[in-house]
């Protein structure tokens, strides 16, 4: 709790300093330093929710261009693990580090989280929804139309989001990952609600993200069609490397 409050205070102070025009607090921060490739490391994570241990002793390491699939039975803590990485849940024990990232930012601030909910406002149009998240996360607005075209929603840009189907809402959420560039993607059941064409489109997008040096952690029940995949079974908690092509 103390650490969390301290972090929040630092965020507010550093925001004010940069707002006043003095630039980031630490020299070199704010620009993405490509000194070392990125690496997400978790050591002995422990999640305790609602009076029970969801998972204990979870360790893994994912490098740039690699994807981690998190599998396990219902309630094994797949979503909780992703939310812990995103900084939305606190880990009771353990350590989580992102090497090669921006030292000024927390892991959550460098990650995209595609959760069960799509974070879409029904009364706003498709393009307004995406525009808001692009503005909020500080992305150039020129990428909006391209991102909508990537997920095949450019024809529906002016439609209120209330009229979208579940799959289309999912695709609008995915467009956020394209419009705003962040190195770490945390995907919770990313293919749910998507048709076959959209699933293979998502696989292409994930391949492109990995090829650009990005990282992916995905909670999934089925194969997501990627070649370089590490698998983390939450029932066993020891990551094992899946042979290339086995999950495709």
């Amino acid at each position: 709790m103390q650490r969390l409050a301290g972090k929040a205070r630092f965020k507010l102070v550093s925001w004010f300093v940069s707002w006043l025009g003095f630039g980031p607090l630490r020299p070199g921060a704010g620009i993405c330093l490509k000194v070392s490739p990125m690496r997400l490391t978790a050591v002995e994570l422990h999640c305790h929710r609602g009076g029970r241990d969801v998972f204990t002793g979870v360790s893994f390491a994912v490098g740039a261009g690699e994807a981690l699939t998190v599998t396990g039975r219902n309630g094994a803590g797949k979503s909780s693990l992703l939310r812990t990485i995103a900084g939305l849940l606190r880990s009771a024990q353990g350590r989580l580090t992102l090497d090669g990232g921006d030292p000024e930012l927390s892991i959550g601030e460098q990650a995209h989280y595609l959760g069960h909910q799509d974070a879409i406002k029904p009364s706003l149009t498709v393009v307004e929804n995406l525009q808001f998240w692009a503005d909020f996360f500080g992305a150039p607005s020129s990428d909006i139309r391209e991102a909508l075209a990537e997920v095949g929603l450019d024809m529906l840009a002016a439609l209120p989001a209330a009229y979208l189907s579940a799959g289309q809402r999912r695709r609008l959420s995915i467009a956020r990952l394209i419009a705003v560039k962040r190195p770490l993607w945390l995907l919770d059941e990313p293919t749910s609600g998507l048709d076959v064409a959209a699933q293979s489109r998502l696989t292409d997008l994930m391949r492109g993200h990995l090829a650009g040096g990005g990282l992916i952690a995905a909670a999934t029940h089925g194969p997501i069609g990627l070649d370089t995949t590490l698998e983390l079974r939450l029932d066993q908690t020891a990551p094992s490397r899946v042979p290339a092509g086995a999950s495709a």
């Binding site: 969390l4 929040a8 965020k11 507010l12 925001w15 939310r83 995103a86 900084g87 939305l88 849940l89 606190r90 930012l105 959550g108 601030e109 990650a111 989280y113 959760g115 069960h116 909910q117 799509d118 974070a119 879409i120 406002k121 009364s123 706003l124 307004e128 808001f132 998240w133 503005d135 909020f136 996360f137 500080g138 607005s141």
Partner: protein, 222 residues
């Protein structure tokens, strides 16, 4: 557009579109004030004496109307998770949401007040002072309400809890708001003293509200 401006524009857009409830507050305000002369009777002296209190009570209740869904909607559709992962400090995001709520709910009340004041036999000179107290006081009501809205974020029907938590906290604002308005309408107390205290209460709540609400949201989101 910066992150904070984006929040402001989005919340105002949602409020004025279908189902947003921006006009609900001002309509409620109108109805309550219009009903008062029917309940009290056509006693012009009495209406003039209780007029400021009625206007302030109606404004207080109206500004709490749509407040319970302020954070709950963002929590239910997953937006709050993403807001927490943004680079803008949560305190300022909360303040922006409060500002958007005041601009769509509080400001229409202030604009409608002179017209509604006619129903309560308030003369033109006092009208200006009354509107001034509402202009200064309603932001305090919204920003104190932010704390209750944050506490009610995970509750399905948080409206009642919000009222129970927030209304006692608004008592000082109500006392000095009505005192200043009464001073202008019926005298003989000077207008400046209660009005200055009302300004101070508003300034304090503009600072305390967002920090307290952000702290509550961080705890509730887990």
């Amino acid at each position: 557009m910066s992150a904070l401006a984006a929040i402001l524009v989005r919340d105002m857009r949602i409020a004025v579109r279908v189902g947003g409830g921006a006009l609900m507050g001002v309509l409620f305000f109108l109805v309550v004030v219009t009903l008062t002369p029917f309940a009290v009777g056509p006693d012009l002296a009495l209406l003039k004496r209780i007029g400021p209190a009625i206007l302030w009570l109606a404004a207080l209740l109206a500004s709490l109307l749509a407040l319970d869904r302020l954070f709950a909607n963002d929590h239910d559709d997953g937006s709050l998770d993403l807001i927490l992962m943004g680079r803008a400090p949560l305190e300022l995001v909360v303040a922006m949401k409060g500002l958007a709520h005041w601009l769509t709910t509080g400001l229409p009340l202030v604009i409608a007040a002179p017209l509604i004041g006619l129903f309560l036999n308030i003369d033109a000179a006092a009208e200006g002072a009354l509107v001034l107290t509402l202009l200064v006081g309603t932001p305090a009501l919204t920003f104190i309400g932010l704390i209750g809205a944050a506490i009610a974020v995970t509750l399905r029907r948080g409206g009642l809890l919000l009222a129970v938590i927030v209304l006692p906290l608004t008592v000082p604002v109500l006392i000095f708001g009505v005192a200043a308005a009464n001073a202008a309408v019926v005298g003989p107390v000077p207008f400046g003293t209660p009005f200055t205290i009302l300004c101070a209460l508003t300034l304090a709540s503009l600072v305390v509200g967002p920090f307290a609400a952000a702290a509550v949201l961080r705890q509730e989101i887990e």
